[in-house]
Subunit: 214 residues, 2 copies
């Protein structure tokens, strides 16, 4: 089953939205309800969820618990993931204490750095290990996801170290395309700023063109 | 001209790649060269760049300087953008010192918080202002982009304050869909982890199915 990338990205949103419904004791929910909460089109919700078979019942809506279990299974949040962050600077520290991660079953269990002043210290309760202990620590702590929070110039090297250590997937915050054999998800912060700049420029051009309110 | 969202996201990558070529004194570059550097398909590069007219010359490739100017104009990095970060916690502090932003013409000029212990202090040289001074400071410092780096529960309220202050676009790090009339770009860190978890699960299922190497 091949699921389009944008749909995969939205599965996390559906999961969160449905979790809220379950907490509120709601058993069935319509695509309209979900769509309104998430600010997307009902037709998009129906299309996305259709990849996982027929969960919706006409007139009744989606079975919240069934759908939650199915999505949890697909996006892999039916288990806990141990996470290592490489780079104990501002970004690495911010990620270590980011409440959204542990809430969604991503447990930061180790930080790594090559700065002797940081090694052995703790950040938000998490130990900073020597990067040269990566492979051993990844095995001991059963770490599956590695996070790259180091400067751009060091990112490819760290990616190779992570791959060699047996890590299964990488979340990359450095603005560089990595070459690895494990799956990588890029979180390019600057690109988000560039996208918003583009949208602001586009909106002001449209505002200039729009004379219908004159 | 309507440009697909994924193409817009890649424009920043092209911009960066072409800047490197210019710095190296390269005048013309092929779609293959760009594709290889960015680890994407040459056909994708040609398709993306075709939205901006015919910059490529058969046998010669793309004119690096012309294409750079055109993309800079489109993505709005031919000017400097003043940025305000709301939330002077770990994430806000990490963003303030993130070198990629200033390098790409996004200048963080102010932080905002409601914690009296933080107000008036500096983070990486940037003053933390009282959130109640938002509108005045946005006007005085000519701030166009606002960043939401506050906890989830406060995000919608901050978005409304930013909109009221006259900000033109928002980069949102809180895992919540905002309702505003200004463009918003969501940077959902947890979603990136969920996507990588999905890809790791998928890859291990495929590895299990793949018996061709037996």
């Amino acid at each position: 089953m091949k699921i389009p990338r944008p749909t995969v990205k939205r599965l996390g949103l559906y999961y969160r939205c449905l979790s809220n419904y379950r907490e509120d004791g709601v058993d069935f929910v319509s695509s309209q309800d979900i769509a309104e909460k998430l600010n997307i089109k009902p037709s998009q919700v129906r299309k996305d969820l259709s990849y996982f078979g027929e969960f919706g019942k006409r007139g009744l809506g989606y079975d919240v618990k069934k759908l939650l279990n199915e999505i949890a299974h697909i996006i892999g949040v039916n288990k806990e993931w141990n996470v290592a962050i490489v780079g104990a600077g501002n970004l690495g520290s911010a990620l270590t204490s980011y409440p959204g991660l542990s809430k969604h079953k991503f447990r930061v269990v180790a930080l790594f750095d090559n700065n002797q002043q940081k090694i052995g210290k703790k950040v938000s309760g998490i130990t900073v290990y020597d990067i040269s202990d990566l492979e051993r620590t990844v095995n001991e702590l059963k770490i599956e996801i590695g996070v790259i929070a180091v400067p751009e110039f060091a990112a490819q090297h760290v990616a190779e170290l992570l791959e060699k250590s047996g890590i299964k997937g990488i979340v990359n915050f450095a603005p560089v395309r990595l070459r690895t054999n494990v799956p990588v998800e890029d979180v390019d912060i600057t690109l988000s700023f560039e996208t918003i700049a583009y949208n602001v420029v586009k909106k002001s051009s449209l505002d200039l063109l729009d004379t219908s309110n004159d």
